[in-house]
Symmetry: C2
Subunit: 112 residues, 2 copies
DNA sequence: TATCGTTATGTCTGAACAAATATAACGAAA
DNA sequence: TTTCGTTATATTTGTTCAGACATAACGATA
């Protein structure tokens, strides 16, 4: 039969999306590159879209997820806070667990 | 904090989507109404979109999921096969299990 | 054979969404 | 004080996708 079961998960706080796969992907790229514009480029996102995503994340989180600086050495940059890093880590864990769990469920379809 | 964790799952067979929440919703409505057009109306879908969805489901499934008849008494109709009914049931089960599982994972975010 | 409500399908239009472009503000360092 | 690469934001242009509209085919029944 060869079925695959796929999933997307996301976390909301009061009607706003806090985290989803795209946002986590972006946060990881920021962590790697140290700037929003480089992060956007590295994952093929327009700067504007990336900025909107990050802005939305920071607005719906209780604590700041990144610290962004404008001007200065190198023009500025963005980096994850400790809170941001643990959010990314927790999301990844949950996501991986979810995949593993769903794989155990697939036989219910394949045995039909 | 009051975070919510949400998910969408779907099942693919060779790059084609077999089942997802929208498709299952449609199949349930077909089962209830006995026709594709009535089902579409009942869940606020255009007939065309509903038809495309159903066509795609039947094309990617190994066995027919519905039997559609054209013309005749009442103009025709559509109804689920036994295979279709068990697909719907299995999908619903997996989906509910997934929600329950994700709820157990949420504390990982809330405790940050 | 005329009627009816359905399945089945093509075309066209508008609206939502994405991408491209432009530009201001910033502040460390040369 | 000039330069630089960045954050931050508005405006305009393009593209995709959903919805509306139109119509053919079908076959039991009256």
């Amino acid at each position: 039969m060869n079925f695959k079961i796929k999933s997307r998960i996301w976390i909301e706080s009061e009607e706003n999306v806090l985290l989803g796969e795209g946002r986590v992907h972006l946060l990881k790229a920021i962590n790697k590159t140290g700037s929003l514009s480089k992060a956007a480029k590295s994952i093929n996102l327009s700067y504007k879209k990336a900025w909107k995503l990050l802005d939305s994340v920071n607005k719906s989180a209780k604590h700041p997820v990144t610290v962004n600086s404008v001007g200065g050495k190198g023009g500025g940059g963005a980096e994850l806070t400790d809170y941001g890093k643990s959010l990314v880590k927790a999301f990844d864990e949950i996501n991986k667990n979810c995949w593993a769990f769903l794989d155990t469920q697939l036989e219910k379809i394949e045995n039909l």
